[in-house]
């Protein structure tokens, strides 16, 4: 594997050619907001639309999770148009996400809080309509509870369950705004075929899937 150098925000970093830009940046302590990325995943899903960067020679911002790095690549992570897309993506997610951090088990470890802090923006947004779904919380599982309202539909839990653990209990169901993560046939997670590995909870970037002993 060939080692190459690229520049991210004026900082010269070394990386292996073909590695995805998002991981190169994160490994070099340059934060780029992200929710859906998982390093082990061979094909990045690119669904959260947060890891925008500007790359020299490209006409519009691109997502860093599926940009292979090359020698001489020049990347900027904080241009005006990049921040605008990140800000809007975050606002869109928050317009469906109940912001109740004080009572959330993920408080202070939540990726949304981290992204908001990075973008120097508030979690309580006012520009868009509040379109939260108000679905019932599923606490049927002995190990963890699942709040579909807090879910950002990043698909990390589904991927670890299916591809890493080879279990395949979790799936997406429905489409568009109605899309949810659920077990087959919408069964309560406590009744679903689960091996209790807890990986889905570990990779959840927000407080949607949360161990019961961590709940406040």
């Amino acid at each position: 594997m060939k080692t190459i150098t690229l520049t991210i925000d004026e900082k010269t970093v070394e990386a292996t050619e073909g590695e995805m830009l998002l991981w190169v940046a994160l490994d070099n302590d340059i934060y780029i907001p992200n929710l859906c990325a998982l390093k082990a995943r061979p094909l990045p899903d690119a669904n959260c639309r947060l890891c925008w960067v500007d790359i020299e020679g490209r006409s519009a911002p691109v997502t860093a999770c599926n940009e292979p790095v090359y020698n001489g690549m020049v990347v900027k992570t904080g241009t005006e148009r990049v921040v605008r897309l990140q800000q809007t993506a975050l606002e869109l997610i928050l317009s469906t996400h109940p912001v109740d951090c004080g009572r959330c088990g993920k408080n202070k470890r939540c990726e949304l809080q981290k992204i908001a802090r990075h973008l120097r923006t508030k979690l309580k947004q006012k520009r868009l309509r509040d379109i939260s779904k108000r679905l019932p919380i599923d606490s049927s599982h002995s190990l963890f509870s699942y709040d579909p309202n807090k879910c950002v539909l990043c698909g990390r839990c589904i991927w670890v369950c299916k591809e890493e653990q080879k279990v395949g209990t979790l799936h997406f169901a429905y489409r568009g705004f109605a899309m949810v993560v659920t077990a087959f046939g919408g069964a309560p997670l406590g009744e679903a075929d689960c091996t209790m590995c807890g990986r889905c909870v570990e990779v959840c970037p927000v407080g949607s899937l949360i161990f019961k002993n961590a709940e406040k």
Partner: protein, 648 residues
């Protein structure tokens, strides 16, 4: 392929073609007259099946020998069911809006007594001394029919009909060339993808051809799902072999051995006719192994999609065939390099494939001579909405929009008591935009349509008149896209839902003053931020309606007024006392909520509390009175005269 095999292919095909021509002569040019009846979905919906039976029964009753042949759609939806009668001693004659009763009359008059019943004739198909011919009608004369040429003329369920009309000549010719030469012909023709994006077809074929994998696929994308678009369906139902031939040529050119025809299962007739076409082609050795005695093999499978709009996006389509949720993925890699099951996969739209046989037969230069600098050939549009002659229209690229709307399709229908004004053309479906009057001179081609903010899309064209509210039009399309979003990416899943919520507020009169700017900002971000084409283009209806009809948005928000009088929450119905004909009670009976009552002098009036604004009274009020009018804002409606208590 060596020279001997090439000769064998030619000989084998010549034998088939000989049989086809014989059959054609018997049924179409023989001593017995023939009757062609349009039996695509549009014709069937208008009663073509009953007409078909009526012709057969009438002919049997009169003891007339005649070939009654089901054909596809000529594109004239406004005149379905369409029937062509050809007698050996006269030119073929076209009849429109034929009923079973008319069928009986036509058999008696036309076939037995030799009277063409001129009052029922739409036009003769060829020029003659007795009847007006189609050349006199702009709808026929100004169209350039390349892929629709045989639609409505041949039996879509009979491969020999297609072969007799020159079908599979292109494929046989392609087999005489090297695959690279075929690609070169397509490249030089300037054909671009007619599914919406307009990517150069030859270039795509070349990329797929150059893929090193041994296994390759060809997919024909027939997942037509735009509201208002039906061109792919009509084409499949009318001439499935044309598509099959296009796919065969594509497969030969890129080196694919198997392929899929991806069609939505809401098109049952299209599915059936395509399956029949595949079976027939297999039976005579045009599909399967050792095609026409050569070493070329290719087989095609019909894959029925489950009706998700997003599966028209090529990566979602591939996922769907693979048995996964139909969700698009990031491109590159494009399917031409990494597609179905990881193999190089050529995906072309129905209309693109349909052009291929003609290009190979007629040559690249002939095709390139039609159209404009950057857009060659023809465009097929499904014209619907407020238009006199709705249906399928095939015009040369570069034809001005105005010509399609006002000349070929006959303009805007009159209202009850006055002419209606043109307002806009919604072109390209949910991904397209609304083009206002000042752009009516825009030539139809890939690039010109982008200037006013629309796009070619997959061929839907909805004509809007003064009674259509542009905020409502935007809301309608956003309602569609947000339902059809796969839900994968943030900008599309939540962004389109936000747009819809804001538009709903505006149409209900609860929009906020900052909403127009918010819609624009959010739309721009969705365009830049969404993962796939569906999301990136979803805001176009919003952006173009704001750009050209901002005053309508402003009226809704600032004055709670719908200028087109369409948004129910912002209008009120009123019966003008001076116009109301006292002895007429027709509106009373039409009202589903008993909101209409009798006032003094037996004049009718509307109780606004009970009125659900369904417009039923307005529709039934006889045009000579035309007493019912709408007011917007709703509170500007004059007070209704008091109710008269009925005498006991």
């Amino acid at each position: 392929m060596n020279r001997g095999t090439k000769t064998a292919v030619l000989q084998n095909f010549a034998a088939i073609k000989g049989r086809a021509l014989e059959a054609w002569q018997r049924s179409r040019e023989g001593e017995d007259p023939c009757i062609l009846i349009g039996t695509a979905t549009c014709g069937l919906a208008a009663g073509a099946l009953e007409v078909f039976k009526a012709f057969e029964e009438a002919a049997a009753a009169k003891n007339v020998r005649v070939h009654v042949i089901p054909v596809g759609c000529m594109g004239h939806c406004y005149a379905e069911p369409l029937v062509v009668i050809r007698k050996p001693d006269f030119v073929p004659v076209l009849y429109g809006k034929v009923t079973p009763t008319m069928a009986g009359t036509l058999v008696k008059q036309c076939l037995v007594e030799n009277n063409f019943v001129p009052e029922l004739v739409l036009a003769a198909l060829e020029e003659n001394e007795f009847l007006p011919s189609i050349a006199d009608f702009p709808r026929f004369a100004r169209e350039s029919r390349l892929i629709l040429r045989n639609a409505g003329m041949i039996n879509p369920e009979e491969i020999m009909d297609y072969i007799a009309c020159g079908g599979y000549d292109g494929f046989v010719r392609a087999m005489q060339m090297a695959p690279e030469e075929v690609i070169d012909v397509v490249r030089r023709s300037g054909l671009r993808g007619l599914g919406g994006a307009g990517y150069p077809t030859g270039k795509k074929w070349e990329i797929c051809r150059n893929g090193s994998a041994a296994l390759k696929y060809v997919i024909c994308n027939a997942d037509e799902g735009d509201p208002g678009s039906f061109s792919d369906r009509a084409l499949i139902e009318s001439n499935p072999h044309l598509l099959l031939e296009g796919i065969l040529i594509a497969a030969y050119a890129v080196g694919a051995q198997s392929g899929y025809f991806y069609v939505r299962n809401e098109y049952p007739l299209a599915v059936k006719r395509m399956r029949t076409a595949i079976r027939q082609a297999r039976e005579i050795g045009l599909l399967g192994g050792e095609i026409l005695g050569s070493d070329v093999c290719f087989d095609l499978t019909v894959f029925e999609g489950s009706g998700a709009f997003v599966c028209g996006e090529e990566t979602a389509l591939i996922r769907s065939i693979e048995g996964e949720r139909g969700m698009p993925r990031h491109r590159p890699p494009y399917p031409a390099t990494v597609g179905l099951k990881g193999a190089p996969t050529l995906i072309d739209n129905v209309k693109t494939m349909a052009h291929v046989p003609g290009i190979v037969t007629g040559g690249a230069d002939e095709f390139a001579s039609i159209g404009t600098g950057s857009s060659k050939g023809t465009a097929v549009f499904a014209v619907a909405g407020k238009i006199n002659n709705a249906g399928l229209v095939e015009v040369a690229m570069g034809t001005p929009l105005k010509e399609v709307v006002f000349e070929i399709c006959g303009g805007i229908p009159r209202g009850k008591s006055k002419a209606k004004a043109f307002k806009a053309i919604q072109i390209g479906g949910p991904s397209g935009g609304c083009i206002p009057e000042q752009f009516l001179d825009t030539p139809i081609d890939f690039d010109s349509l982008q200037e006013p903010g629309a796009m070619m899309g997959s061929g839907g064209m909805v004509v809007l008149d003064e009674d259509d509210c542009m905020v409502e039009v935007a809301r309608y399309f956003l309602d569609f896209t947000q339902k059809e979003s796969c839900g994968k990416c943030t900008f599309c899943r939540v962004g389109t839902r936000q747009l819809l919520t804001i538009l709903e507020d505006i149409t209900k009169g609860v929009g906020r003053s900052e909403d127009i700017d918010l819609l624009v900002e959010l739309s721009e971000d969705i365009k830049g931020g969404a993962l796939c084409g569906l999301g990136k283009t979803a805001p176009n209806p919003v952006l173009t309606t704001i750009k050209y009809f901002r005053h309508e948005y402003e009226a809704h928000i600032a004055r709670k007024c719908c200028p087109a009088m369409m948004c129910r929450d912002l209008i009120a119905y009123y019966i003008v006392p001076e116009k109301c004909e006292r002895s007429c009670d027709v509106c009373v009976g039409s009202c589903p909520t008993e909101a209409i009552y009798t006032a003094k002098h037996r004049i009718k009036a509307i109780d606004q509390e009970k009125c659900v604004k369904c417009a039923a009274c307005m529709e039934v009020c006889p045009p000579e009175y035309d007493a019912i009018v709408k007011f917007s804002p709703a509170d500007t409606v004059p007070p209704a005269p008091p109710r008269i208590e009925e005498k006991e």
